[in-house]
Amino acid sequence: MRPPPNSSTFKREFVKKWLLALQLCNHNNNINKNDVVKRKDTIKLSAEIAMASVRNGATCWSRALMAKHSSSFHVTTKPHHMPPPPPPRHYKKRVRCKKIIKRSRRCCHNRSAAAAVVRRKTAVLRKLVPGGELMDDEASLIRETLDYVMSLRAQVDVMRRLARASDCVAMCNIV
């Protein structure tokens, strides 16, 4: 897995790509400017795609995010920086391994309740992190979570600053 970029680098890249994504979104869908919800969705979608593309498909979650949004977001200009998705045989192997693991988990009923709790929480985490379902072992899941958390934090930071700036502007205008 490619190491996560520097925070400021990440933010810069993120902003760049976010703008690109926004432009593309606007070109593709004519947004009703009065529909806040739709606008919000557009913003969120473009932000997610930007965040995922900054990681350039080096992580599982970024690939999963891009795959998820590729249907709703018709990428007219092919993002050349995005690497191809993993070959299907990996998924087949994963599915097979998942079956084996599920079977073995069913068998070990003698595990304590604590382990069951942990397993439940891991399942919840898997749903939260994009692409979490694809990962079989906890170690990679935790690694993906780490990376995802870093990216989310940077994204939140950028958006917050932007919101603050716009608020400042708004308040300036009022005053």
Binding site: P3, S7, C107, V129, A139, L162, A163, M171
Partner: protein, 445 residues
């Protein structure tokens, strides 16, 4: 092992013949130098004596004692070994049947002459049920016990694999691993749970473990002296009192990896320093991820609602050339220009107004910031994020470990972020944008 060879021996039974009878492949035993004749007879007498006493118990002995001692044999047809001993002991001509045993012992340990040990061993084996508990007691005591009854079968099983192709080493070595007693139950549970996940990891585990060969040998040879003969199979460093099965070892490796990564997550997620345990940590992580996602949702809504008359037509005001040039220029423009530009675009301000905005924004920034903080209370945990960054930067600084070569950069990232983000709560000056605003202000004034 050929069970058909367990025919009742002729009356004029001789040791060497019995050895050939029982295991033609192991007929080489009598080739081994041993001078046990005197001791043998004593042993035989004691054996007979003891055996008569414990004849009925040997059956259970086989099951219980060998069950706990022959831990690693279960998967490897250890039943065959069990069966052998049991059958041997259950035959009518009991006294004679045990004769081969001295051969077993003597071959195993030339120094195993003292009969006291042997007797001790036999008498220990009689008390089967406590043996399971005693198995965890000092291993030195066990070795003669293990040796006395079990050893023969073990040896026989060893000889066979040794004659088999060496390619079986990979499979059989893990099974033959040894008198890691007291972990039968543990091993089984770990096998059932990790059988699949360790399949992929077995190879890596074996590779890892082959490195710790000699030291693990030393460890185990102190436990069971006859292990010297099967050093080929010991490739795993087993912690004392822990299962030495490959499955459990792979499981342990996996667990260690996971706990290591949980530690990193602990540094990343705020407020996790005091929480120990996987469940609590996972809880916190889940909460944090959920809160971050909610923040994104809220902020995107906020940005969408900034100005109803907002124009998304950024092309006009944020030329693509700037984006395309990327590289050096863009970072200079960076966050400040983009964010302020977007805001300006929304309100159709020109560049001059941007500067005004800059200087006024700086003054307004503080009040606006505070105002923002007051309004945006619950969803955006603003002060919390600032504080956690502060608190987290210190343990991060101390962490020097490497995590797939990601971590140094990761920690640097977080540390930089901490340094950068620790200021905006007080003033804009610390941030990039603040600096740009200041330069704008200075240029305008």
């Amino acid at each position: 092992m050929d069970r058909a060879s367990f025919l009742p021996p002729p009356p004029d039974f001789h040791y060497a013949d019995s050895a050939a009878l029982l295991d033609p492949a192991a007929a080489k035993w009598h080739h081994h130098p041993y001078h046990y004749h005197d001791a043998e007879q004593q042993q035989q007498q004691r054996l007979q004596y003891n055996f008569h006493q414990q004849q009925q118990e040997v059956g259970s002995l086989g099951d219980d004692y060998m069950g706990c001692v022959l831990n690693g044999f279960h998967g490897d047809g250890g039943d065959g070994g069990l069966g052998e001993v049991v059958e041997m002991s259950r035959s009518p001509s009991s006294s004679i049947q045990l004769k081969p045993d001295p051969g077993f012992f003597a071959n195993g340990w030339p120094d195993f002459a003292p009969v006291g040990n042997h007797v001790y061993g036999i008498s220990r084996t009689s008390s089967c049920p406590p043996t399971a508990a005693e198995s965890s007691s000092p291993p030195a005591m066990e070795t003669p016990a293990a040796a006395s009854v079990v050893d023969g079968s073990k040896k026989r099983k060893l000889d066979k694999p040794q004659q088999r192709s060496p390619k079986e080493n990979g499979e059989s070595k893990t099974k033959k691993v040894k008198a890691g007693c007291g972990d039968g139950g543990d091993k089984k549970s770990s096998v059932s749970s990790s059988s699949s996940s360790s399949k992929n990891k077995n190879k890596s585990v074996k590779k890892e473990n082959s490195g710790g060969d000699s030291s693990s040998k030393e460890n185990n040879s102190s436990k069971v002296t006859h292990e010297v003969q099967k050093t080929d199979y010991i490739h795993v460093r087993a912690r004392r009192g822990q299962a030495t099965d490959s499955h459990s070892l792979a499981e342990r490796v996996r667990r260690e990896k996971i706990s290591e990564r949980m530690k990193y997550l602990q540094d990343l997620v705020p407020g996790c320093n005091k929480i120990t345990g996987k469940a609590g940590m996972l809880d916190e992580i889940i909460n944090y991820v959920q809160s971050l996602q909610r923040q994104v949702e809220f902020l995107s809504m906020k940005l969408a609602a900034v100005n109803p008359g907002m124009d998304f037509n950024i092309d006009s005001l944020f030329p693509k050339e700037a984006v395309a040039s990327g590289g050096n220029n863009f970072p200079a423009m960076g966050m400040s220009s983009s964010s302020s530009d977007m805001a300006a675009a929304y309100l159709h301000l020109n560049s001059l107004q941007q500067q005004l905005l800059g200087c006024s924004g700086l003054d307004m920034g503080m009040t606006a910031d505070l105002g923002l903080r007051r309004t945006i209370s619950a969803p955006i945990t603003n002060p919390e994020t600032e504080t956690f960054i502060d608190s987290s930067c210190f343990p991060l600084q101390q962490q020097a470990s490497i995590w797939d070569a990601d971590l140094p950069s990761l920690y640097q990232v977080a540390f930089d972020q901490a340094r950068a983000a620790s200021f905006p709560s007080q003033q804009f000056a610390g941030t990039e944008r603040g600096k740009k605003m200041e330069t704008l202000k200075r240029s305008s004034s």
